[in-house]
């Protein structure tokens, strides 16, 4: 009975906390705009299943309109026009939204979780653990991530979109871990850590209960940076020609646009993917800023 009651109160507390959190989030406006942008792109991603169902010529990767050969300007039949191969640009754009969301979220989550945990451990324990972890981070950071992914990508030959996700996740953690660590270094000298230790808290508890909440704002900031960064990185890789040729991403669209030599004659081909990348990256960034203001009240507007 007692246990049941306690569970209920903790659940209610959680619900209340969620409610206040959402209220603060709503007040930040920035976060709300971000959520708005994100939901727009989620709708786009969901809508990517529709065009191929209407007609075969709307299949993003190899659809072909028999009445149009090659490049065509926006028309009723093709709302955003067709590319050099006669493929519908709107359905490509929708397909791109799907892949951008998938790549961005998975890659960023992986790298930020990894970076935060490593940063906490490294900063808290110091000594040999710190040295080992930080030297590894140094090495990885001094390998310019983009160049490294290029090299590994060319070794893998025929890079798939999941390889890109894994590579971005692996290459992304050192930055987060360094920032978290430098924060932990100063935090662990503060009096409240000493009092926690005096009252008998274990190392594990001190790290995840007392220090972690204090570094979370930075983690979230880096999460926002992370998704934004992952989307931009995937786009850049595809644009350079290291993308997955069997996946229609926005970067890939721009790569086809540039490689075909029509970049400057066909602005209707070049502009939409770039605008989409920017907006989606911005959306995640804004959500990050909004989240940051919840966690770190100092940044809130008074």
């Amino acid at each position: 009975m007692n246990r049941k009651m306690r569970m209920k109160t903790s659940w209610q507390m959680r619900k209340r906390r969620l409610h206040t959190t959402w209220k603060v989030f709503r007040e930040t406006k920035v976060g709300l705009v971000g959520v708005g942008i994100l939901s727009f792109f989620v709708v786009m991603a969901l809508a990517s299943f529709i065009p191929p169902l209407i007609d075969d010529m709307y299949i993003p990767l190899y659809g072909n309109d028999p009445s149009i050969i090659g490049l065509s300007e926006p028309s009723l039949r093709h709302l955003l026009g067709t590319d050099y191969f006669g493929r519908d640009l709107l359905s490509q754009l929708l397909e791109g939204a799907k892949w951008a969301l998938i790549v961005g979220v998975t890659a960023a989550t992986a790298s930020v979780v990894l970076g935060t945990v490593i940063g906490l451990i490294s900063g808290f324990y110091g000594g040999i653990v710190d040295t080992l972890l930080q030297r590894t981070a140094d090495i990885m950071m001094s390998l310019p991530a983009f160049a490294m992914i290029l090299v590994v990508g060319s070794v893998l030959e025929g890079i798939s979109i999941w390889n890109i996700v894994i590579l971005i996740g692996i290459m992304g953690w050192p930055g987060t871990s360094k920032v978290i660590r430098s924060q932990v270094l100063s935090l662990r000298e503060r009096p409240f850590i000493e009092s926690a230790r005096v009252s008998g808290a274990s190392n594990f508890r001190i790290i995840f209960r007392h220090i972690a909440p204090n570094v979370l704002p930075l983690s979230f900031l880096y999460m926002a940076f992370g998704v934004t960064g992952a989307i931009l990185l995937e786009a850049a890789l595809s644009f350079i020609g290291m993308g997955d040729p069997m996946t229609v991403s926005w970067g890939m669209m721009l790569q086809w646009c540039r490689a075909s030599g029509f970049a400057f004659q066909a602005p209707f081909w070049m502009i939409p993917p770039g605008v989409c990348i920017t907006l989606l990256a911005l959306g995640f960034y804004l959500v990050g800023v909004g989240t940051e203001q919840i966690i770190n009240p100092r940044l809130r507007k008074r």
Binding site: M141, A145, A147, V151, V155, M242, A263, I277
Partner: protein, 325 residues
Amino acid sequence: MFMTKFVARRSVEIVITLFIIATLTFALFRLMPSDPVGLMVHPLWTPEMKQKQRELCPPQFCCFRQYTIFMKNMLRGEFGTSFYLQTDVYDLIKERLPPTILLFSSSTILSFSLGMYIGRIIAWRRGGKLEYGSTVVGMILYSVPTFWVGLMAIWIFSYRLDLFPIGGIKSVAVWGVPDAGVLAKALDIGHHLFLPLTVEVLLFFPGIMLMMKNVMLETLEEDYVITARAKGLPEKVVRDHHAARNVMLPMVTVFTLSLVFSFSGSIIVENVFNWPGLGAMFLGATIGYDYPIAQGAFIIMSAVLLIAILISEILYAYLDPRVRY
């Protein structure tokens, strides 16, 4: 005393790191699906002729021998001969390094001064229109893909308006004339530099600016800032001497992180603007499987970054005497 010991230790660590990077590079590029013979011979050769050529020069050494030879050559600065161009990679890198350093250092310095200057002001005048406007602009610029901005800039300013050259670093019209003056040459490079530099600065400074704003806002809440104000010090003194100085500390960390970030960005900018730098060469070599160039460029780029990181660490220890590595 402490400083010399620290620098010495870090230098040793950097050498070890470079060694690991070189080993990694060796392993990675050996795994690369390249066909050196196919690249060296004339493209019109038939597959049978290529096969014959390949049999003529089989791999002479086992993997370990290859590795030791590779390391010895790296120490001597011999990166081998390019498969495509048949020229010494060392010379190629020497030729490509100055344009990269010119573009990279100027954009880093410009975007850092700009970002920190604006970030400091908007944190100070919190809630104003200036903060709102620059934050929005900064966020948008932070989210724009580098290569796309480059393409758009070329499309608008070079293709449509014809104000700037489409790419490259020199124009034959100026450098081809035998008695062209130094000033004319410098102006020509500046003319070519303008678009890539603008694009890089536009893309790098917003991150710095937003970071600076956040850090500055945190600092302004500290007790010593309130004390300084309570003492009746002029606002400017509080901002520049009490708050901004302590902001320098986290900003050095940001600087280290952003160096690598902007380095990646500059590879793409070099590619889009056809800038004859190290990054563009590296990119072409990786995609074309020309691995002597790719590994040489990769190691040099890593070395440059490591040294930059060391400098920022020294700066960090200097700025904050409490920090002991």
